[in-house]
Symmetry: C2
């Protein structure tokens, strides 16, 4: 997968979490996912379909980070992943894929997005079923980790 394809997703996540959640994310170099799984507690997932390609995106958060972003957004401290957190992760997923779609469209890559899904469950992992590689990008913050995984056939 071309790095041109990856950067818009990274930039969109960093921007959304900064603006919405007042939290700074740092990221490690994108790498091909092998045995390493992005383990987390709440994930936003979205399918992408273009005329020439199709794929999937997941954004996985550790619980501590998801709770902290919500706290910084609304000023209220939450203890558990609830409907509000789930909606927030769905919205982040929409914003990241929408932001990346816009950037990629300028470069001539066009795709449509399905509706997002949010998975909640302690220490879940996600496998993207695909023919190409899955790219994983780990993010750090003051409150826990996040991961983007992207695959395009």
């Amino acid at each position: 997968m071309n790095v041109e394809f990856i950067n818009p997703f990274i930039n969109a996540l960093i921007n959304v979490i900064d603006v919405m959640g007042h939290t700074e994310l740092t990221y490690e170099k994108p790498r091909i996912k092998k045995n390493d799984a992005a383990m987390g507690d709440v994930s936003g997932l979205i399918g992408m379909v273009g005329s020439k390609t199709k794929g999937s995106l997941s954004i996985t958060f550790e619980k501590s980070l998801a709770l902290r972003i919500m706290q910084r957004m609304v000023g209220e401290k939450l203890e558990e992943i609830d409907e509000e957190i789930i909606d927030m992760v769905g919205e982040i997923t929409n914003m990241v894929s929408g932001g990346a779609k816009k950037e990629l469209s300028k470069k001539g890559y066009e795709f449509d997005m399905a509706t997002p899904m949010v998975v909640s469950g302690t220490n879940h992992t996600i496998d993207h079923i695909h023919e190409g590689h899955v790219i994983i990008i780990p993010f750090g913050s003051d409150s826990g980790k996040a991961f983007i995984e992207i695959c395009f056939d």
Copy 2:
């Protein structure tokens, strides 16, 4: 959501699990998802994009049922959800959405599918982020439960 839209997914899952996994599924009446969550241990998820609509599908299995289907497919008894089970659930998701797509196309509903994702994690739940209703269909078997959830905007 029209019942015309739901039945092809139900029929496809029953057929795939019967033919592939030699396991009979019975199903309860489809209903609008409210507070009830389809809790399970391994789920296949896929995004769907059409010119007029978009949506998402999830098929969630209890661990006992996923292991039993695999056992009946390959003759080998597994104890845990591993890569083989994950690939099987991804394949089931592809076959169910592909089968439903074919049936729905005959009725004039056209959509494309993204690539499937498989979530593994004890007792996870899935939220479909959407503007319409989510339909949930519970399935029973001799080895545990499964659930389909579908939403189309």
